[in-house]
């Protein structure tokens, strides 16, 4: 490993972890917010319809 292969592997694992982790977190956040927004909009519309009916 005197040629630096081990150091190289550690560096790439770290970079893959940082970029992969951040991308994963970003995509998961988009999915979570989309679901919450759909639910919130549905509640808002339901409330509006029931107010009209009354």
């Amino acid at each position: 490993m005197a040629d630096g292969t081990l150091f190289l592997a550690i560096a790439y694992v770290a970079m893959i972890g940082i970029i992969g982790g951040w991308t994963w977190k970003l995509l998961a956040r988009v999915g979570e917010l989309s679901e919450r927004l759909t639910a919130a909009e549905a509640t808002l519309n339901d409330g509006a319809e029931s107010t009209e009916e009354e």
Binding site: G4, M15, W22, R29, V30
Partner: protein, 236 residues
């Protein structure tokens, strides 16, 4: 939700990741080795296939931070503040890649991870620390006009470190290797190595573009959700 922004953001992010993976594969299998007599850890040079593109990606992010900070500070533009936040986060992500991989290469090649007398290393470390501070401050501080002004001014003045970091290895080169593009004579790279590194540069630029779109979208979704929640709070 603007569907096309989401689709394009995901496509660009995945394309960037795929191209970065191809860069890595070519860097390990196709790019030739360097002369083992000239380097203490010759195989470790392959770090540059992601290290340099990550550094350029971070400069791209810091430029967005600067533009966003200026737009907020001078014109109170909301998109400017969002760009400031996105720039700080991506600057931290890619800055961490550089600040972690660099010292690991340094430990293999120089026998020490850091050299406090090297200007390039120190200015880049301060730049990444600045983005870390901004990201933590955005999370921890109440979002007011005053706090935005403070962070935007830090983003504006901190950007000075970007050109300083870029020119530092041309003016005060010490430990850090000389620039490989537009550097002095004989500082260039083997054409195959250069080709792989340029592919990496394109990959990381596409990745940044995709991630900026996704992060911007997250900001928009959070805002919309907050608006609906306030409406619901008023109603019930």
């Amino acid at each position: 939700m603007k569907r096309w922004v989401l689709t394009l953001g995901i496509v660009l992010t995945l394309l960037g990741l795929l191209m970065a993976a191809i860069t890595l594969w070519l860097g390990f299998t196709w790019a030739p080795g360097v002369n083992p007599d000239d380097w203490k850890a010759p195989e470790a040079y392959r770090i540059l296939f992601w290290h340099v593109p990550a550094a350029w990606a971070s400069f791209q992010a810091f430029t967005l931070l600067f533009i966003g900070s200026g737009a907020w500070f001078l014109k109170r533009l909301e998109w400017g503040w969002k760009l400031h936040v996105v720039g700080a986060q991506l600057g931290l992500v890619f800055g961490l890649c550089v600040i972690i991989s660099g010292p690991i290469w340094g430990a293999a090649e120089w026998g020490t991870p850091w050299d406090l007398t090297d200007v390039r290393l120190n200015t880049y470390a301060v730049l990444t620390s600045l983005s870390l501070f901004l990201v933590m401050a955005h999370e921890g501080q109440t979002d007011t006009e005053d706090s935005r002004d403070t962070f935007a001014s830090i983003g504006l003045f901190g950007f000075v470190l970007v050109p300083l970091t870029i020119v530092s290895i041309r003016i005060w080169q010490n430990r850090h290797p000389a620039p490989v593009i537009g550097g002095a004579e004989n500082s260039g790279l083997d054409p195959q190595i250069l080709m792989v590194m340029l592919l990496g540069l394109v990959a990381f630029q596409i990745l940044v573009a995709g991630q900026v779109m996704l992060r911007y979208l997250v900001g928009g979704l959070e805002e919309r959700l907050s608006e609906i929640q306030s409406k619901l709070d008023k109603r019930y």
